[in-house]
Assembly symmetry: C2
Homo-oligomer: 157 residues x 2
Amino acid sequence: MTVSEPADPGLVALAQDFREALRHSIYLVRRLDADGELSAAQLSTLKMLMEGGPTSREPSGVRVGDIARNLGVKVPSATEQIIKLERAGLARREPDPHDARAVRVALTEAGLAAVDAANERRNAVMAGILSSLSDGDRAALAAALPVIGKINATLQA
Amino acid sequence: MTVSEPADPGLVALAQDFREALRHSIYLVRRLDADGELSAAQLSTLKMLMEGGPTSREPSGVRVGDIARNLGVKVPSATEQIIKLERAGLARREPDPHDARAVRVALTEAGLAAVDAANERRNAVMAGILSSLSDGDRAALAAALPVIGKINATLQA
DNA sequence: CCTAACAGTTAGGCTACCTAACTATGACCG
DNA sequence: CGGTCATAGTTAGGTAGCCTAACTGTTAGG
């Protein structure tokens, strides 16, 4: 990519609008997270444990480094969240049988229940918000979500 | 609104997907904010000053309470940002001529320049990300932005 | 073995929020 | 007027979530 693409004005306009939408969405996100119980960071962590957990063929649990990578944070930040979850009884840490340096983190029963409950409550709040939209608006939103997903996936890499 | 709308499953699914998209977008937002210079909170504050500032018929500047309301934070949080901006020479505080309790906050020249520069840099980063999408994807995204805007506007009220 | 790479934790620091308590001014009303 | 209540903002103190740097212990390779 050479430096000076003259920067397609339409592209920049879209970029600007998208940025603006994301910026204002902080509001929405805060509303969702206000449900109490579980913070956004902790819910994300628990979700990661759920996905990577019993399903995967690994002995059990997810490694701290993988959690950090998946959440887009540094390892110490992941450790911090894990410790909090452990203290809350939602996750547990065990040594990795194959590598004594590593740690396997897994959901507890309570953790699983907490994810479900939190998801349900947040979905309900969001559904309430979306219910005031027209069908057309909802369709437009639905059509854009895969695109946003694509963008986010690109970024992870 | 009675309690038990049976909760249209399609609506809940959309809610779930949208939540997921927003959650993953933290990544994107962090990428954008990593440009240094100005934090997201400070850029938002400066933007608010720009919009509500010289344009409005008010003597000059925006009141702290209005800034807080607009940014969706409490007054002390706004004060904090304003003080930082002031120390950085990007904003200035002056007494309100009509109400000695109130404070008027306005952009300085340097503040104006900083907003422009930060916007430009962030737009460029975002445009770069969006440039890898297909035309169809970009169209879908563009179509959804007004909807997201509508949601956010509803929430403000 | 011994050194280098790796996994995670600990320590310390920062930003952006929050609530509660305080100061000062304005507005209402008898 | 003068008292009381409301309003605008600041100050004080606390929390969550992130970071980097430094440390501990483990594995892997020459």
